[in-house]
C-alpha cells in the first residue's frame, strides 16, 4: 500500500528532477517496487481498455439507435423549425376555423334560413268567424302539420281556384320535406298569373334548392333570375340568393 501511495503521488503531481531520479533509482534497485509499478500500470491500462470496450459497445448501440429512426438530424431539424411549424399550424388552424365558421352561406343554406324564418308560422286573418283556411293556418301555427295538410288539401280539392290553399299546401309539404309534392303545388301556384303578388317561382326555387337533386340547383337559379327579371314577388330574396352563387 505504501508503494502504491508513493507511485500515485508521483504520477499525480509535478515531480521535481530530484524526485524523478529517486523514483527511477527505486525502479532499478527494488524489483518488488518495479513489479508493483508494472502491476499498477497494467491495471490502469486494462481498466481503461475495459471501459473503452464498453463505450465502444455503447457507441455501436447509439449508431444503431440513430439508424432506427431516432435520427439526431431529424430531431434537431424538427426542433430548429419548431417555431415555424407552430406558426404554420396556427395559421392553418385560423384558416380552417374561418372556413368552417365563417364560410359564406351557400344558396342551400340561405334557402334553409328562409324556410326557418318565413315558414315557421303563417299569417292568420283576424276576425270573428273562422273559415276552413284559417283553421288550417291555426293548426299549422300550432305545429299540427298533418292536420293542416288535410285541411289545405281538402280546400284545394274543393276549390281549384283557391291559390292560397295551393300555396299553404305547398308550404306544409315543404316543411314535411315532401319536396316532390311541394314542387307540384308551387308549379300550380305559379300558373296563377292574375295575382298581384305570386311567390310561386320563389317557393319553387327554394324547394328545388332544398331537394337538391341533380339539376335542381341550376333550375332554381333560372327561376330566381326570372323572379328578378320580371320583378316578381320575393325579388330581394332572389337577389340575395343569386349573390351567393
Amino acid at each position: 500500500m505504501d508503494n502504491l501511495d508513493y507511485m500515485d503521488s508521483y504520477f499525480n503531481s509535478e515531480a521535481s528532477l530530484a524526485k524523478k531520479v529517486e523514483f527511477e533509482k527505486k525502479i532499478a534497485e527494488d524489483p518488488a517496487f518495479a513489479e508493483e509499478l508494472a502491476f499498477y500500470l497494467s491495471v490502469k491500462q486494462l481498466a481503461r481498455e475495459q471501459s473503452e470496450e464498453k463505450k465502444k459497445r455503447f457507441k455501436e448501440l447509439y449508431e444503431q439507435y440513430k439508424q432506427e429512426g431516432h435520427s439526431t438530424r431529424q430531431i434537431t431539424l424538427v426542433r430548429k423549425f419548431w417555431p415555424y411549424l407552430a406558426a404554420a399550424a396556427i395559421i392553418a388552424g385560423i384558416f380552417f376555423g374561418m372556413h368552417v365558421f365563417f364560410k359564406p352561406a351557400s344558396p342551400q343554406q340561405l334557402a334553409d334560413k328562409y324556410v326557418q324564418e318565413h315558414f315557421q308560422t303563417l299569417g292568420v286573418t283576424m276576425g270573428d268567424k273562422e273559415d276552413s283556411l284559417q283553421a288550417g293556418l291555426r293548426w299549422y301555427n300550432e305545429g299540427r302539420l298533418n292536420e293542416a295538410l288535410v285541411q289545405f288539401e281538402s280546400i284545394a280539392n274543393r276549390d281549384a281556384s283557391s291559390f292560397e290553399a295551393k300555396k299553404y299546401l305547398g308550404i306544409v309539404y315543404l316543411r314535411l320535406e315532401q319536396y316532390d309534392k311541394a314542387i307540384s303545388c308551387f308549379l300550380q301556384l305559379e300558373k296563377y298569373t292574375q295575382l298581384y303578388a305570386n311567390p310561386g317561382k320563389l317557393y319553387l326555387a327554394l324547394t328545388l334548392l332544398k331537394r337538391n337533386q341533380p339539376g335542381d340547383k341550376q333550375q332554381a337559379k333560372d327561376l330566381l333570375q326570372q323572379v328578378l327579371q320580371f320583378d316578381l314577388e320575393g325579388k330581394e330574396t332572389a337577389k340575395q340568393l343569386l349573390n351567393k352563387w
Binding site: D8, N12, E24, L37, A38, F39, V43, A47, S51, Y62
Partner: protein
Amino acid sequence: MPLHTIPPQTADEEILNNLLQEGIDRKRGEEQLFSKYAYFIQQAMHKYSFQEEDAFTIYADTIISAIPKIVDGSFQRRSSLKTWLYQIFHNKCVDLVRKNATNKRSVNRTTSISDIFLNLADSARSVVQEMMDRTDRDLIKQRLNEIGENCRQILSQWAEGFSDKEIAATLEYKTADVVKTSRLRCLDKLRQLYKVNTK
C-alpha cells in the same frame, strides 16, 4: 434475442432485473438501459448546445456509473429510473458546461500511461515494460470483475484519467481523499487477489 436487436423500449423492471443478473443477462440489461434513454443525448445537444460526441460521452458515462449503483442497491427506487438517471446525466452536463465556461476542460486529468513512460528514463522504462509484458493480463481482467462494482467503477474512472475530485463528484464520494484511499485499497485488494493465483 441477439443483443444488437434489442428494442429500445424495454420496461424498467425488466432492465433492472437483467442488471441484477450475471453474464449475458447483465450485458443485455446494460444495453437495454443505454438504448432506452439514449434520447438524453439529443436533449443535451439541444439544451446545452453540446457536440454530439460530448453528449454521447456524458450519456455513456452516466450509464456506466449508474450500472454499479443499480447492482449494489444504491438505487433505491425512490424515484423512477428515468428521473434518477436524468439527475446523474444532468449533473454531468452541468459539470461540462462549467468546464467549458472556465476553459478548465481536461486540466484535472491524471497522467496517462504513455506520459508516464515518456517521462521515465530509458533504463527504468524498459524494466517496467518488461515486467508489464510478463503480467497476466487475462488474470487481472478476471480479478477486476471479482473485486466488486464499486472498486471496478472507481478504477475504471481513474484509468480513464479522471481526477479523484471528479470521481468523488461522479460516484458520490464525500471527498477526493476518500476516493484516493478507496482507490488505493481497491488496487491493493486487486493485487492481493492477483498474487494468490500467480504464486
